[in-house]
Symmetry: C2
Subunit: 201 residues, 2 copies
C-alpha cells in the first residue's frame, strides 16, 4: 500500500493497525489526527495505554477488572453473594451490569475450553470457581456463556464437578427470540429453542 514518508509515522500506523477492527487506512487517519493535535494529546493517549496494562489488576475473587484486590462488585455489601454468574470474559460482566437486572456476583473464566485452540480447563479459572462454590455460601450458579460448542462444553465440564452438591441450583440464561425481535427473521435454532423452553403466561 502507501509508502509513508516517515519512519515514526510508519511505526505508529503499524502499531495502530494491530488493534481489532482498525485497518491500515483507518490507522493512518488516526495517526494523522494525532499529529495534528497538540503534544499533550499524544502524551495523554500514550500514557493511558501504557498504564492500562501496568495498573489494572484483577479481582482475587471473581477475576474481573479492578483497581483493588477485590472489585467493586465483590466488595459491595448490597450485592447478593449467594448467586454467582459464570461468564467468559470481563466484557460480559460489563454487558450484564449495564442491564441493571442482576444483583449477584460474577466469576470470569477468562475464556472457554477449546481443544482446537489448545485451551484446557487449567488455562481458565474453573478450579477457583469450584473452590468458591465449596467455600462461600453460594446457592445458585448461573451459566452465561456464549451458545457455542466451546461454551456448551465448558458449562458441561463445570456442571459435572458441581452437580454432586445437592443444595446447589445450576441454571442457564434464557435463550429465545430477542425482545422486539420478529419471529420471521429468527434463525431456526433460536426459534426452536424458544418453543421448547416456553414459559408460563
Amino acid at each position: 500500500m502507501l509508502n509513508l514518508p516517515s519512519k515514526s509515522l510508519e511505526d505508529a500506523v503499524e502499531q495502530l493497525s494491530n488493534l481489532p477492527g482498525i485497518g491500515r487506512k483507518s490507522a493512518l487517519r488516526l495517526a494523522l489526527y494525532i499529529l495534528k493535535e497538540d503534544e499533550l494529546f499524544a502524551k495523554d493517549l500514550a500514557t493511558a495505554i501504557a498504564s492500562l496494562k501496568l495498573n489494572v489488576k484483577f479481582c482475587q475473587k471473581c477475576h474481573n477488572i479492578s483497581d483493588e484486590d477485590l472489585c467493586n462488585i465483590c466488595a459491595s455489601p448490597s450485592r447478593d453473594d449467594s448467586v454467582v454468574c459464570v461468564v467468559e470474559n470481563m466484557s460480559d460482566v460489563l454487558a450484564i451490569e449495564s442491564t441493571g437486572a442482576y444483583k449477584g456476583l460474577y466469576h470470569v473464566l477468562n475464556g472457554v475450553i477449546s481443544p482446537l485452540q489448545g485451551i484446557t480447563p487449567n488455562d481458565l479459572t474453573i478450579e477457583h470457581l469450584i473452590d468458591r462454590v465449596h467455600q462461600e455460601d453460594i446457592n445458585e450458579v448461573i451459566f452465561a456463556l456464549n451458545a457455542s460448542l466451546d461454551g456448551d462444553t465448558t458449562a458441561f465440564f463445570i456442571r459435572q464437578q458441581l452437580e454432586a452438591i445437592t443444595t446447589l441450583k445450576l441454571t442457564n440464561i434464557a435463550r429465545g427470540i430477542p425482545v422486539g425481535g420478529a419471529l420471521e427473521y429468527a434463525d431456526e435454532l433460536t426459534l426452536g429453542r424458544s418453543i421448547a423452553e416456553r414459559t408460563d403466561l
Copy 2:
C-alpha cells in the same frame, strides 16, 4: 453509559474515544483488547504514539511529513521540480502519491482559509508558497484543493498573488464523473461541471 470497574480502564477508554470515528463502545473494545494482549503490545503501541508527535518533522520546502529537513519527495532527483501541486494537508499528498500519476513536487498549506473557523492566510504556508514560486524555477502550480467554499476562496487568494507572473501556468485538477461512476447517480454540480469542462475525444 457503563460504569467501568477500574480508573485506569476508564482513563484509557476516555483517551481512545477522543480519536476520530471511535466512540465509547469501540474504545472499550480496544482497551479490553490491549488488556488481553501481553505487556509488550501496550508498551509498543504507547511508544509509537508518543514518538509520533515527538519525532515527526515537516519538510522545510513543502511542509509534508518527513524524518529529515527535506522530505523524500523534495529530495528525490527523479521528481520534476518545475511543477508544484498545492494541497490542503499531508493526507492529500499520500492520496496523490498512491496514484503514481504525479511526478512533480508538492506544497502543503496545512489547511484552507476559513473566516468561520478563524483561519487566515497567515495561519497557512501561503507566503512560503509565493516565495517558492519566486525563488525556485517553477513553471506550473496545480491546485488540488477540496471543492468547497473555503477551498475555492484559498485558490482564488493564491491566484491573485501569482497571476502577475506571466510565465507561470496555473491549473486546477479536473472535476467530473468518477471513473467507473454511473451518470444517473452523479450529483447535479458534478455532472454539470463534467459537461462544461468536457475534453476532446
